[in-house]
Homo-oligomer: 226 residues x 2
Amino acid sequence: MKFIPNLSYDCVIFGFNGKTLKILILEYHNTGLFALPGGFIKKDQSLKDAVNKGVEDRTGLTNVFMDQFQVFDKPDRANVFDMRRILEGNNKDLEENSWMLERFLTVGHYALINYEDVDPKPDHLSDSIGWYDIDNVPQLMMDHNEIVDKALEVLRNNISEKLIGMNLLPQKFTMKQLQQVFEAILDQTLRRTSFQRKMLSLDILERHEKLFEGKAHKAPYLYSFK
Amino acid sequence: MKFIPNLSYDCVIFGFNGKTLKILILEYHNTGLFALPGGFIKKDQSLKDAVNKGVEDRTGLTNVFMDQFQVFDKPDRANVFDMRRILEGNNKDLEENSWMLERFLTVGHYALINYEDVDPKPDHLSDSIGWYDIDNVPQLMMDHNEIVDKALEVLRNNISEKLIGMNLLPQKFTMKQLQQVFEAILDQTLRRTSFQRKMLSLDILERHEKLFEGKAHKAPYLYSFK
DNA sequence: TATCTATTGTCTCATTTAATTACAATAATC
DNA sequence: GATTATTGTAATTAAATGAGACAATAGATA
């Protein structure tokens, strides 16, 4: 067995489409089971490498911002019945893969990516992967809904200006877009003038040319992070 | 083997003696090796139960405030040489305990306890356990110094008034003691009047009788958390 | 008993930071 | 050229914090 036994990772991959915050969820072949992208850690592999690999396989992205935030370890979190269905749905040998039916602790991660850059690809066990609004996540297997909730909570607490926008937005963006990211994450509206003044005072933004959208009003500046 | 392989926990146990922030460190028999209190997780045990048990064994305390904050996973973090010395120093059979020489990922925790309540007890592998000032921690085995540094960083960032004092101080305390806890954690001096005003305005403290210390000055009130 | 010392609790006033409102600038439409 | 929707920034208010002043007081000192 090339993997570390009883240990896995799962990753809540956040994206922002300009309106709402979304996460990537995959569905397993012939089971109707939804789950977070996750996987196992090779015996000589760092956790970070393992997760990066998993995210790259499903999104095509490298150098993604990522953070591990909690170990989920309830002894009864594994659902042997579901796992068996997934293996059978993929015509996997149960004997050979019986290690997958044991207890697993999983290291929860979240990743922030630029929605536009992604071309989601299902892995060999699943037949679809897609974006779901953060407030419209389907029922997931095992304790994955709990992992999503916790990831969002941590994201809200860590909303330290720079990291967030830098990873969820394209290189250049308007002040309004930046504000919308914050509003989507915090799930509350912010005052435009206070937000703008605050962001500018932090001295983390660089101002570029204006963006002419063809709309009948003053054109906003584009910004990037310094 | 009754433990989950390749996985351990370690715990940075913080205490406050009225002056400085301290942590508990143990020394292994006949090796001169220092380490954080840690251990393994039984196959049917929750991580939390495992850590609680470890803390209770070494401090005698139950219901301790505790938080897991990071998995440390560098593939080369285990030091086979040191581990062998510990086993040999304790006359343990190398063959039987060879699983301990493999790669381990460890879940880093920190705990906050009331210094006065503790009677530190070494476990069966170590011959001493004692308090060390946070800015005078000896060289520890493996990556334990890194774990300590990270724990302190997390503690500083999480210094959300209530949790801290509630766990590091006795039930009743003076405003000065509370300020000293903050100063020890943040490693900076705070303005007395501003601190007092801030704490009182948070509406988390209950004021009790005065504490007469027999000193030649006005006696301070005792407070507890609401 | 009166005075002195160290510390505490609270006020005041200055300074900084943030919330709120107001308004001019402007890109495209009518 | 007037109109509309939105943007950038200035002006005004309000809240939080910094810095200092001062009276209160428990015990020590004389």
